[in-house]
């Protein structure tokens, strides 16, 4: 029984990696949920409790592979969604079928979420607007795509976002859509803020207070935009809502701050530089999610509805 599980574990990770390879555009959480669904279908446990335990172990295993907040939150929401139904059937295979059905439903819903967000947000981009964004976010790309398709004229400034220069990838993709784009240094955010009209960023995770966890440099941008009184918008799917409540930068758990391989190899984390930072809700104007356009205080409301 144990050997069977280990093999499936390795298979699971392989499946997950394959998903990301085949479709680089898919959100890592969606890939994780697809892999979990596959795992559920192949699982051989005899009891519901055993099934749940296996699922939790699988989620942990995936978190070790990809340490982003979205995988953890997506996994937990998936588990809650499939077990939220009545599992009173006497036959285990019937229960499993119900769970698999709900899993497919969940997957379908969240695959559509990016489109929903795009549709909601693009109306906030006016003709002639100058937009500032940070690093590379697929949701922001979708929003800008929708706005361009709506025949709006706007310019985009993207920060380089070191250490992985993700901003340059974003600039390339925007260039393909024929949107005028300019790459700026991370240090030039204060300089450029007076020129832009609004700031749109994506999120790796949305926390209970209504704040967001995103690529490092987002907090800086939020503080600058507050000082210049520019609106700061965050676009994110709802499966990124997570039950964390950080009070400040130090309070974000270490397992999210660094990449998964660094967590495993490096002994002294103080020498490493974190990849994400936390933006408090007081600096955010609005959040665009597939649940609607929310103020930061409404996020807690939605979270209570999702989790309680």
């Amino acid at each position: 029984m144990f050997e069977q599980f280990d093999m499936e574990e390795a298979e699971l990770v392989e499946y997950f990696r394959a998903q990301i390879r085949e479709d680089p555009d898919v959100a890592s959480a969606v890939a994780a949920i697809r892999s979990l669904l596959e795992f559920l279908k192949r699982d051989q446990s005899e009891t519901i409790l055993g099934l749940r335990e296996n699922m939790t172990k699988a989620i942990h295993r995936l978190e070790e592979t990809d340490s982003s907040v979205a995988v953890s939150s997506g996994g937990e929401l998936f588990l809650r969604f499939i077990s939220l139904t009545s599992l009173e059937h006497p036959d285990l295979s019937q229960c499993k079928n119900v769970m698999i059905e709900r899993g497919e439903l969940f997957l379908k819903k969240i695959s559509l979420s990016r489109g929903k967000v795009g549709k909601l947000c693009h109306t906030f981009i006016k003709d002639g607007a100058k937009i500032l964004t940070h690093s590379s976010s697929r949701v922001v790309l979708k929003v800008l795509e929708n706005a361009a398709a709506d025949n709006k004229r706007f310019t985009v400034y993207v920060t380089e976002s070191q250490p992985d220069s993700a901003g340059k990838h974003m600039a390339q993709k925007l260039g393909k859509l024929n949107i005028p784009v300019m790459v700026v240094l991370d240090a030039a955010v204060g300089y450029i803020m007076e020129k832009v009209d609004l700031v749109i960023v994506g999120a790796e995770g949305v926390v209970e207070s209504g704040g967001v966890i995103n690529k490092i440099g987002t907090y800086q941008m939020a503080v600058c935009s507050k000082a210049h009184n520019k609106p700061f918008y965050v676009v994110s799917e709802s499966f990124k809502f997570v039950r964390l409540y950080p009070l400040n930068q130090q309070d974000v758990p270490d397992r999210f701050k660094y990449k998964a391989d660094i967590l495993k190899t490096v002994k002294d984390l103080n020498q490493e530089h974190p990849m994400i930072d936390y933006t408090p809700p007081s600096l955010i104007t609005l959040l665009f999610t597939d649940l609607g356009v929310l103020t930061p205080s409404a996020v807690s409301d939605e979270l209570i509805k999702l989790y309680l």
């Binding site: 409540y245 807690s300 209570i304």
Partner: protein
Amino acid sequence: MADSDGRQVVSINHSTEEDVKLQEVVQAKCEGKELTKEEKQRLRKEKKQHKKNKKDDRGPPEKEKEKEKASVLAPSKPATQSPAHKAAPVPVNASASESPVAAEKPAKSKAEQRAERRARQDTERASKQGKKEGGQQSASSKPKATPNELQPVKRLPEHIQVDDPAALKKLAKKLERQQVPLRSDYGYKVSLFSHLHQYSRKNPPTQQISIPATVIHPSIVRLGLQYSQGIIAGSNARSVALLHAFKQVIQDYSTPPNEELSRDLVNKLSPYISFLSQCRPLSASMGNAIKYIKKEISNIPSQCKEEEAKRRLQECIDSYINEKIILASEAISKYAIEKISDGDVILVYGCSSLVNHILCEAFEKQRKFRVIVVDSRPRLEGREALRRLVKKGIRCTYVLISALSYILPEVSKVFLGAHALLANGYVMSRVGTSQIALVAKAYNVPVLVCCETYKFCERVQTDSFESNELDDPDDLIVTRNGKTHLENWQTVKSLGLLNLVYDVTPPDFVDLVITDLGMIPCTSVPVVLRVKNVDQ
């Protein structure tokens, strides 16, 4: 329907018949016969009607007041009725009692009144279908009441209307009826707070009751004295003491022969609650506890035996204390300990039982932190907190609130307790809390408020003036080296001493609220209230 109308017409014309009926029932009582349900009901009706007639003899009451009372009586009576009783006779009685009075007024014709009454009965009967909750009925009867054009939109609680002589008169009358002593205010009140009571600790209301007290249970008298002298202080302590006293009251209670426990016990509790609020104004947590008990009592089915009912109520009270206070503090400690990391410097203010519990638990779980206790005059509650923490072995520092901005750069987190959490996210707590939150915000130190959900209340307040408590002003007098400069402060006309007890902190200063339901931002309090109402 025709039958009720017929009865109604009969009652108008033959008012003496009711007197005869009353005689019959009294006779039956004297003969020791067991009164049936219907007879009990009728007896109650007659009692109420006689009271009404007595009021007529005293003087011509205002026409609107009578109508208002009648219309209020009618919906309130069905609200308190158990489903076993028939609904129809009651509105008939209410209108019947009103009709002899109304007959005196020449302004409205009898036909008009009858039509109005019929319309009211119809709507009441319609609204009574399937719904037992009083709230429903008051909602449907309120539009009936507004044609009278007299009902005020919302009634203010009397304890914040001290400068309104009409409200004072109403209170005096109510207390006289309940045989509870009225406490008089003491000393000159600062004009901004003249709408609040200010009592002196030297004159507790217990001095005005005879021993042994006939109307008020001795454990309630003791409790009132403990409140007014400050022996029991702190939101949780007061609520728990109140519930224990109520347990004693229920234990000693015995149902009078013609009454039902579910109705009579609630009526018995009202003078006790008036007495306690005379000793010291009720806190939000006490208010919620009382609401819960009253609901439990009125939900006792009428066929339940007295012993069984009493046992059930005792169990309810025990489980309330256990769930809402003891287990809640365990849950809150678990969440709060996640937020305490090694090397933290935690600031606490005053003495909150919950915060002390959290810190002691965290210390037992081997977290390394030190505590700064901030204290303020005249209560100096911080000393009690200091005592408890040092006994555990936690490293503490003690400062007065005037040294707050000096000590804050060292602090990494602030933990505050709360007296109540208001529906708009404001935190009501000991005076000085708002100051601490403000200065902590200026230094960017996170502020965490710990509060159980039973302290959440539906009230909304944006400032500390509207509803507060004034403590004994003599507490502010201090004697140093044998000299008391403020000894004769009453003689100085322009001098007022203000000893506030509570203040209100806006949600912008609070980063996180830890409740037994989890960690929520301050603005999510109405969501929790909504979820709780759905559960109930």
